[in-house]
Symmetry: C2
Subunit: 181 residues, 2 copies
């Protein structure tokens, strides 16, 4: 096990700025492209991250901090963002994500004040007992997964244009791997 | 085919700032981790990108712009950076990459002034005739590949810590896919 709260926060804090550096101002060709039917474009990935800030990570963590028997997490709909797309475009989504993430990292720092609290438990609807440490490690890996997804979706846009180099570029053969909720 | 020079430049220009946002100031645990023996850590990926700026993309492109029969590219050693690691650490590597990339994008803009030039040809040592368009598309996908690699390497560091969420996180099952030279 390698988890450390401070190192997890390093990643969580960097994700909004990294995404802003990467996709802010990109032309529509990059922002709209998909790996295929039913997969997400860049905007949809960011909107999914926003949903997680609002309804997944910190709400679950705060449930786990309550005294008493571990409670079952309310379901998280990983497709919810597709129904209520942030209307104002990519820059608005990036800004919203950045604000929510900063608030959530501040809440996280305020409520996890000892390593003992990382062992507090909750009940995941699919696989039962989980700990706060596992939730936080998953939050970090979930960020990394969706950054990788954005690079993969964009890379595939040029899968024909690279010509014979295609066989050297493993990213063009990768499929969408589902990410955690 | 979807390639457009201006859109390619959008990505090439963003990569150094994106990497700086993401990895600058990370603790050694993140910077030193690997997927396994013989794979690259974050520092080594950035040093490989530096090698590409110096010896791969623009030198090949400029060969292809010369008149006469297409010439064979000089070999590019994708492991060269492991022998001459940038000694001053990650921040120095990020800065070097940023400077070299900015210079190369300026050279690119100065020398590819018409779409016709994208059809100029060169000879790749492994698969023969390639065009400037294919080289530029590959440069973009190569950037994206290595950004995805960094996120994957970091994600795997927490593959045990995520506990039962592991089965939802496709990134933890992905292997290193070689990237183009």
């Amino acid at each position: 096990m390698t988890f450390a709260l401070s190192e997890s926060i390093e990643v969580l804090e960097r994700t909004p700025g990294t995404l802003a550096s990467f996709v802010s101002g990109l032309s529509d060709g990059w922002l709209a492209c998909r790996e295929g039917e039913g997969t997400w474009n860049v905007q949809e990935v960011i909107d999914h991250l926003i949903e997680g800030e609002r309804h997944n990570w910190m709400p679950r963590l705060e449930m786990m901090l309550q005294d008493g028997e571990p409670q079952l997490f309310p379901p998280f709909d990983r497709f919810a963002h597709l129904d209520k797309q942030e209307a104002a475009g990519i820059q608005q989504s990036l800004d919203t994500f950045s604000i929510l993430r900063a608030q959530n990292v501040a809440r996280l720092k305020a409520c996890i004040t000892t390593d003992e609290l990382l062992a507090r438990k909750g009940k995941h609807p699919a696989f039962g007992t989980v700990t706060i440490k596992q939730l936080l490690a998953t939050w970090v890996v979930h960020d990394l997964t969706h950054m990788a997804q954005i690079t993969r979706v964009m890379a595939k846009r040029y899968q024909e244009d690279v010509g014979p180099w295609r066989e050297y570029l493993g990213i063009l053969q990768e499929r969408q791997g589902w990410s955690a909720d």
